[in-house]
Subunit: 197 residues, 2 copies
């Protein structure tokens, strides 16, 4: 963004984008710390020094990956008009970003949590729970919502481990379970869009 000149530069390469893609896969499958810049660079067919032209630190690569995903979630939360619509939007979002992103966030949260974007992720997830949980929900109800959200991640990981299971049907089952859990979070009224408390 800050390095684009506006017009199409003939010398422009796609190394940065490719680096983000490759890093996502390697970070997800091997872990952030266990993946070296040398490894990423080799996959891209460039040197480590070339990577340092695009990113100032290794952490910046990780942050770049998470940025797009997180902004998507924020947009979802802000645009949501009701719990059911939001959970469906979240399901689609998780699907769109794929198993590697899910793995990346879960398996490397230890490293992510200390980064600036880690605080953003916590905040976004909390607003997601806030939006999905009834106003004034107790911790048990909020836990229910958190489990409803984790459903898609568990399904994605299950599809990876149990390779004989059909991923698409697992996703569908996850959505059903998620909605079921969500409805249980508020045994009373859950028809209108209770945006106001």
């Amino acid at each position: 963004m800050s390095q684009r000149s506006g017009r199409v530069d003939s010398r422009r390469t796609d190394t940065r984008e490719r680096a983000v893609t490759v890093a996502l896969e390697l970070f997800a499958r091997q872990g952030y710390t266990a993946t070296s810049l040398r490894e990423i660079a080799e996959r891209l067919g460039v040197t480590k020094a070339a990577l340092y032209f695009h990113f100032r630190t290794k952490e910046e690569i990780l942050t770049a990956i998470l940025r797009g995903y997180l902004d998507g979630v924020t947009t979802l939360v802000e645009a949501a008009e009701g719990p059911d619509e939001l959970i469906r939007g979240f399901a689609a979002h998780q699907r769109q970003w794929g198993i590697d992103l899910v793995l990346l966030v879960w398996q490397n949260y230890t490293e992510i949590q200390d980064l600036p974007i880690g605080a953003e992720i916590r905040q976004t997830m909390r607003s997601l729970v806030d939006t999905l949980a009834p106003a004034g929900a107790d911790p048990a109800q909020r836990l229910r919502v958190r489990i409803a959200l984790s459903t898609f991640q568990i399904a994605a990981v299950t599809a990876l481990v149990e390779d004989d299971d059909d991923e698409a049907s697992l996703r569908e089952a996850a959505l059903g379970l998620s909605l079921e859990l969500l409805r249980g979070a508020d045994p009373g009224t859950r028809e209108g869009t209770t945006t106001e408390a």
Copy 2:
């Protein structure tokens, strides 16, 4: 075990046990790869070389931690007389081993999965699901069981992130949700101990 002489050796130290405890905490909080042997040794007040007397590799420390936990789960599965009893036993087991073990397995699964004990963990978890799910359960029902099992882990992590929530009540809520999910896995008969299919 293999190095004990039977009688109480006055020169015997508890470095190995202490190393396992310290490593569990550091691996859980910082990640397996991000934690160095130097760090573990410093915490113990010994040198790296002393650690290598007790463990041949870094992976062996990780394996030693997971061994006790995993054997406990196996024992639970073999002794189980019914789904409800098993899930309660699993809940108690998770509680007993604490948040650090839960974090360790989840946050470092990328590294664990390639170890020999990683295969054991997968197998044990599968037998756990097998025992909890009705015979002939479809993937969707098995997913439900997996989510029921994840409940305790999500509760533990939630207690860590949301430090104003009461951990004990979260655990209680998790057990209730887990049982609720489990009952939904088989809408039909779930009274007798259907050990035979």
